[in-house]
C-alpha cells in the first residue's frame, strides 16, 4: 500500500495506464453487480408478494417492512429497542474480550496452569455455549446483566484459546533477543508477546462482535422485555412476520456497521 502511494509516476506508459484502467473497470463491475443482486432480490420479493405468488403471512414483503420501519422510527420505539440491544452487545463484547485476554495472559504467565486446565478449556470450547444461557441468566439475573453475561460467555472461551495460542507461538528468538538485553517476564509480555499479537487481538475483536450479537439475541429470546431479539420473538409468537423481518433487517444493518468499524480499526492500527 505504502509503496503504491509513493510511486506516483506521472509519465506512465500506455500499457500501464490500460492495465490500471482494466483493474478499475473490474472493481466497478463487481460493486455494481453486488448492488444489483440486492435490488433484484428485493424487487422479486415485492413482486411475488403483490401478485400472491408467495404467502405474505409467512414471508412478509419489503414494502410492508419499510412501512413498519418508518412507523417504528417515528414513534421512537426502534431507537429504544435498538439502543438496548446495542448496549447489551457492547457490554457483553467488552466483558468477554477483556476477560478472555486476561485469562490468556494468566495462562501464558503460568504455563503449568495452562497444561492443567487444557482438557477443561477444550471441553468448554466444544460445548455449544448457548446451552449454558438459561443457567447463566438464572445466575446473573433475569434482565440486562443476565443478557450481558450470556453474550460474554459466548466469546470468552474462544478468545482465551485463540490468544493463548498466539501468545505461546511468538517466535522464540524474538523473546531470546529481549532476554539477552536482560528483560524480565513482564517486559517480555509487554514488549514482544502483546505487540506481536496485535493483529490476532484485532481479528478476535472482529469475530467477538458477531458472537456478542448471538449472545444478546439468545438472551433476549429467553428473558427480555425489550430489544431487537425481543421484537423478533414477540413478532413470531403473534404471527407478525413484518415485525420479525424488520428485526432481522435492522440487526443485519447494525452488525454490518460494527463489523466495518472493526475492520477500519484494524487498518489504522496495523501500519507495518
Amino acid at each position: 500500500m505504502r509503496e503504491k502511494n509513493k510511486k506516483k509516476d506521472f509519465n506512465i506508459s500506455k500499457e500501464h495506464s490500460d492495465y490500471l484502467k482494466s483493474i478499475k473497470r473490474e472493481n466497478y463491475f463487481i460493486r455494481i453487480t453486488q448492488i444489483l443482486v440486492f435490488v433484484f432480490f428485493i424487487a422479486i420479493w415485492e413482486w411475488a408478494a403483490r401478485y400472491k405468488h408467495i404467502d405474505v403471512f409467512l414471508t412478509s414483503s419489503p414494502g410492508a417492512i419499510y412501512k413498519l420501519i418508518v412507523r417504528f422510527i417515528e414513534d421512537g420505539s426502534l431507537i429504544k429497542h435498538l439502543s438496548i440491544s446495542t448496549m447489551e452487545t457492547i457490554a457483553g463484547f467488552f466483558a468477554g474480550t477483556i476477560l478472555g485476554l486476561l485469562t490468556a495472559i494468566l495462562l501464558w504467565w503460568f504455563r503449568r496452569l495452562a497444561r492443567i486446565m487444557d482438557p477443561y478449556i477444550v471441553i468448554l470450547n466444544s460445548l455449544p455455549k448457548t446451552a449454558l444461557a438459561p443457567i447463566i441468566i438464572l445466575w446473573a439475573g433475569m434482565g440486562f446483566s443476565g443478557i450481558v453475561a450470556t453474550a460474554a460467555s459466548i466469546s470468552v472461551i474462544v478468545t482465551t484459546m485463540t490468544l493463548y495460542t498466539g501468545f505461546i507461538n511468538v517466535e522464540k528468538d524474538k523473546i531470546v533477543l529481549l532476554k539477552t538485553m536482560g528483560a524480565n517476564k513482564f517486559q517480555v509480555l509487554n514488549k514482544v508477546v502483546i505487540p506481536s499479537n496485535i493483529p490476532n487481538i484485532l481479528s478476535v475483536i472482529r469475530v467477538n462482535i458477531g458472537l456478542s450479537w448471538i449472545g444478546v439475541i439468545v438472551g433476549e429470546f429467553l428473558v427480555s422485555k425489550a430489544g431487537i431479539g425481543y421484537l423478533i420473538l414477540y413478532g413470531s409468537q403473534t404471527f407478525k412476520l413484518d415485525l420479525v423481518m424488520m428485526g432481522v433487517f435492522v440487526l443485519g444493518v447494525v452488525a454490518a456497521i460494527m463489523y466495518f468499524f472493526a475492520s477500519w480499526l484494524e487498518k489504522i492500527v496495523i501500519k507495518y
Partner: protein, 251 residues
C-alpha cells in the same frame, strides 16, 4: 592482561526424553578486552552453545563461566527486528529494557543511525528495508546499550553474498575502531579470518578446541579492514590451514 570473559573446563549436555547429547567437552578459553575472537567448526558442533553460555542464556553442566561485565550485546543470524516498531524504536529496544531511555541516549542512537546511513529511514518499518540495512539496524540496536562484550551468532549468513561482504567489512571496521570485545561464531572461514584477531577451530561434537590461530596481517597492518585483509597472501595461507583442520575432522 585483563580478560572480558573466561570459560573454565566447561561441559554441556542437552537432555531430551530419548537422548542425552554432549555438546561441549571440557572446554577452556579466554577472551581479552578489546579482542575479536572467531569460533569456526563443523555445523552442530556446539559453537552457538558457547555463546549462549557466555551470554548466560544457558548454564553449563560442569565448569565455570566468568564474565567481567553486565553489558552484553547479542546479534543473531536473523536480525530479529520487531516488525511493529519503526527503525528508531527498534534501536531503542535495549535501552527501554534497561530503563535508560534518556535524551542523551536517544541523541547517541540518532548519531549512530546517521553514521550507518539509516537516519532517513528511522521512521520506516523493517519490512521496507533491504537485508543489509536491516542487519545494520540490528547492529545499531545492539550497540545502543554500549556493550562491553559483543556476541555474534552467524550474523551475516542470512544475507546474500554481495551484501554479506560489504556488511562484514563495515561491521569489522566498527568493532576494531570502537575496540569492542567480540566473540563471533561463523562457518564462513574467510569471514572469520578477515575480521578476527584470533580464530578458534572446534572439533566435531562434543566440542573441544582443535586449534587456535593468532591472525596477523603484515601486509595491511596500518589499514586493517576486512576487505584489505582478504587481498593479502597471508589470508590465503590462513584459509588453507583452517580449511585443512575442518576437512580432516570429517574423516
Amino acid at each position: 592482561m585483563e580478560y572480558i570473559c573466561e570459560l573454565k573446563n566447561i561441559s554441556k549436555r542437552f537432555h531430551t526424553i530419548n537422548h542425552e547429547t554432549k555438546a561441549i567437552d571440557n572446554l577452556s578459553m579466554k577472551v581479552k578486552k578489546g579482542e575479536i575472537v572467531s569460533i569456526v567448526g563443523p555445523s552442530g558442533s556446539g559453537k552457538s552453545t558457547v555463546l549462549n553460555l557466555i551470554g548466560k542464556l544457558e548454564k553449563p553442566s560442569e565448569g565455570e563461566v566468568i564474565v567481567n561485565t553486565n553489558s552484553i550485546g547479542f546479534m543473531f543470524q536473523k536480525d530479529q527486528l520487531y516488525e511493529w516498531r519503526n527503525i528508531f524504536k527498534n534501536c531503542l529496544l535495549g535501552l527501554e529494557v534497561k530503563n535508560a531511555v534518556t535524551e542523551e541516549n536517544k541523541a547517541k542512537v540518532i548519531d549512530m543511525l546517521k553514521k550507518y546511513e539509516l537516519y532517513s529511514f528511522r521512521n520506516h518499518y523493517p519490512s521496507q528495508l533491504s537485508g543489509g540495512m536491516r542487519q545494520r539496524a540490528a547492529l545499531v540496536r545492539t550497540l545502543a546499550i554500549e556493550p562491553d562484550l559483543l556476541l555474534l551468532d552467524e550474523p551475516f549468513s542470512a544475507l546474500d553474498y554481495q551484501t554479506r561482504l560489504s556488511v562484514g567489512n563495515e561491521v569489522g571496521q566498527i568493532l576494531r575502531r570502537e575496540k569492542i570485545s567480540t566473540v563471533l561464531v561463523t562457518h564462513d572461514i574467510p569471514e572469520a579470518v578477515s575480521i578476527s584477531d584470533r580464530v578458534i577451530v572446534f572439533t566435531e561434537r562434543p566440542a573441544k578446541i582443535k586449534k587456535e590461530y593468532i591472525i596477523e596481517f603484515k601486509e595491511c597492518q596500518d589499514d586493517r579492514t576486512p576487505m584489505n585483509c582478504r587481498n593479502t597472501l597471508e589470508f590465503g595461507e590462513y584459509f588453507r590451514q583452517i580449511w585443512r583442520d575442518l576437512d580432516a575432522g570429517k574423516e
